[in-house]
């Protein structure tokens, strides 16, 4: 039986279109952040971190499970603390895991990152239990703008991720650390010869990557709840965003994320069958791999 049989094609409703566009933009920005966080590590170490979605999950558990529920902290200090703690975890992981892994053949390195993610997931389960939960009242509800109601969490995601992307861009373009990142991304050996400590850049990129994972984990809690599998699909979509935008390019990651998020939203807005929503993203990535494997903004063209 065709699962596409009998679906609704009635999106001449302006409110619905706006709501879908907002949700598409918000999720697209989440995909941007996901693509950025694994691109940071990829650029400094050559490692494709296949376990990155589990760090997002872990950040959510830290925020909700440890700081809000167990310690009873308010939302903002909990968010700050959990994100900073994720940065510390990033340092540990960079020193203990990523640094040795980058010297191994690629297959072993990829396997290592996947094994680490499985360890992290099970460690989370053992620490917090199997129970899924949420943070009651956190970014819940809607805000009315005239005839349109927008979910509060999506507005928050848009604002926070936009600020974060601006900050990240300024960091990369205007600071010595950013210039060092870009140098290492372009050519590790030459950067090393020029006096840049490549290992330190790996640690710094892993720290930033996990800081971003912590932020993503906190932001998506009102959307997904806090579950062990909360970030599986986001991780995949982040990869798609990276391919579409241009693997290895931070600006490409931004463009790729927006393209993926808005494409999904527009597909639904114009009557697409929801069961094929994910297929749209995967078709997109296949098309790019076949026709434009460098992505929209290939690494060579991108400044960063």
């Amino acid at each position: 039986m065709d699962p596409g049989q009998k679906y609704v094609r009635r999106h001449n409703n302006l409110e619905t279109l706006i709501q879908l566009a907002i949700s598409g933009l918000a999720m697209g920005l989440i995909y941007c952040l996901v693509a950025i966080e694994f691109t940071l590590i990829l650029n400094t170490s050559g490692l494709m971190n296949f376990g990155h979605d589990k760090y997002i999950m872990f950040g959510a558990f830290l925020f909700g499970g440890t700081f809000v529920i167990r310690l009873g902290w308010d939302f903002l200090p909990s968010a700050v603390a959990s994100v900073l703690l994720m940065g510390v975890v990033g340092i540990f992981i960079a020193v203990i895991v990523f640094s040795p892994l980058q010297k191994l053949p690629r297959v072993y390195a990829m396997t290592g990152t996947m094994a680490l993610s499985m360890i992290l997931q099970e460690a989370t389960r053992l620490t917090y239990g199997a129970r899924s939960f949420t943070v009651l009242g956190f970014l819940s509800g809607t805000i009315n703008f005239g005839f349109v109601s927008i979910q509060r969490v999506y507005l928050f995601i848009i604002i926070v991720t936009t600020i974060l992307l601006i900050f990240q861009n300024l960091l990369m373009m205007k600071t010595k650390l950013g210039r060092s990142f870009r140098a290492v991304a372009q050519d590790k050996e030459t950067s090393s010869l020029m006096g840049i400590n490549v290992n330190t850049m790996l640690i710094a990129s892993a720290t930033m990557s996990l800081l971003i994972c912590g932020i993503i984990g906190v932001l998506i809690i009102p959307v997904t709840g806090i579950t062990l599998g909360m970030s599986n699909m986001i991780g995949s979509k982040g990869y798609i965003a990276g391919v579409v935008g241009g693997m290895g390019s931070l600006n490409g990651a931004i463009i790729g994320g927006l393209v993926v998020g808005l494409t999904e939203a527009l597909f639904l807005a114009f009557g697409g069958n929801p069961v094929y929503k994910d297929v749209v993203s995967f078709v997109l990535v296949v098309l790019f791999l076949l026709l434009k494997p460098d992505g929209i903004l290939s690494e060579k063209k991108a400044a960063i």
């Binding site: 203990i96 199997a130 899924s132 959307v223 699909m233």
Partner: protein
């Protein structure tokens, strides 16, 4: 720097070691239940003596996307076994559940089923919890002649031509029929929206819901969604724009939480009915009270009933696990071991084929799910109750008892 590296290495090695222990691929021990409040209240396991053991394989989703249900199954079968053994065991032997983790996936179920089938000591199985997992192991079970009692509810099993499965739960075929009729006949709704998960359970439910709606002559819109998504706003908005004034939601628990949250946030407040997932701890822990409030649930167990068996279950459960409130998932899995034990007793011998034959002859076996009688289609449970959530507490509205064919 070297000193820092050394310290970091030690700390993270300890963390990894703890995690690795937790990730051991050896068969995981069942989740250790809290100690009962007083030894005298615990079911006696030291009284009777046994002249052997009978092993029943239990496939539970201890890891995966719904580990709470795996924990509930572990607690329930453990308690049931303790009660059975406290009453003398089965054929003078101790009933031993062998619990393995299938991660709530078809691949995991296949691995566990193969392991149980290869072990000649295991004479029957309970589980798995998901219809797709059961479909994956059906041929293995049939070939091995392994009798299995499953809580999975898909009506697709009828097409399997497999005489070794038995179900002690009301099927989706019955539940979806009741759910749909409830919205139309009890609540008088005129246009029904349907959201179904795109897997075996959802698609099998679709056939029943569509035929019921056609029979009732009610307009409807059906949307099939992929499970595991983080946002179903698009689907919810499509149903809202279609003018659906009631919703049948049939899928899995974690997705329910996302869908209902989306509905609440988008202000799409229509009567919504779903399956047991709406009452489960997994769902209720993921949503605010306002999101859960008002949802209708069709399930096969009424834990509020005055049935003495239900009261017995609640009483024994509270003694054994005083820190855990039992829900329908616990009750479902509690019934498995009693049904299997009863079949072994009637068979007179702990052998797979004999147990399968005895399960087929099950008649009015008392259980927390109501009297179990094996119908021609191998379903043994024939009651369903409609509940409504008040906040996060479900209250029974109406119970339906079906004719056994």
């Amino acid at each position: 720097m070297k000193q820092l590296n050394k310290v970091v290495t030690i700390i993270v090695s300890v963390m990894l070691a703890i995690a690795i222990v937790g990730c051991s691929t050896a068969a995981p021990a069942p989740a250790e239940p809290p100690k009962p409040a007083g030894d005298s209240q615990a079911p006696s396991t030291s009284g009777p003596t046994f002249d052997g053991e009978i092993y029943v394989g239990v496939t539970a989703g201890i890891t995966g996307d719904a580990p709470l249900e795996g924990e509930a199954m572990t607690r329930a079968v453990t308690l049931a076994s303790e009660i059975i053994n406290g009453q003398g065991g089965v054929l003078g032997k101790k009933l031993v559940p062998v619990i393995e983790d299938d991660s709530y996936t078809p691949e995991g179920a296949i691995t566990v089923a193969n392991k149980f089938i290869a072990d000649e000591k295991i004479v029957a199985m309970a589980g798995p919890g998901r219809s797709s997992s059961f479909m994956a192991i059906s041929d293995l079970i049939k070939e091995a002649g392994m009798p299995i009692v499953t809580p999975a509810t898909s009506t697709t099993f009828y097409k399997l031509d497999n005489p070794y499965w038995f179900r002690d739960r009301t099927t989706d075929g019955v539940s979806t029929n009741i759910a749909t009729r409830f919205l139309v006949e009890e609540l008088g709704l005129k246009k029904i929206g349907v959201m179904l998960t795109n897997d075996d359970a959802g698609l099998a439910a679709r056939a029943v819901i569509e035929s019921t709606l056609k029979e009732l002559g009610v307009d409807h819109e059906i949307i099939v969604y992929n499970g595991g998504e983080i946002d179903y706003s698009g689907q919810v908005l499509q149903l809202r724009d279609a003018g659906a004034d009631g919703l049948v939601l049939w899928g899995h628990t974690v997705d329910y939480a996302v869908i209902c949250r989306n509905m609440y946030q988008l202000g799409y407040d229509v009567p919504t009915v779903g399956n047991t997932g709406f009452m489960s701890a997994t769902f209720l822990d993921l949503v605010d009270d306002e999101v859960a409030d008002g949802l209708y649930v069709v399930t096969d167990i009424n834990l509020e009933s005055e049935d003495p068996y239900v009261k017995y279950f609640l009483d024994e459960y509270s003694k054994r696990y005083p820190d855990v409130k039992p829900d329908v998932v616990d009750a479902i899995h509690f019934a498995h071991m009693f049904l299997i034990a009863d079949a072994i007793k009637r068979a007179g011998v702990a052998e797979r084929q004999a147990i399968a034959d005895a399960l087929k002859e099950t008649r009015d076996v008392p259980s927390v799910l109501g009297p179990l009688t094996c119908a021609k289609n191998q379903d043994c449970a024939h009651t369903a109750t409609v509940f409504q959530n008040e906040g996060k507490v479900a209250h029974a509205i109406k119970t339906f008892t079906l004719e056994v064919e």
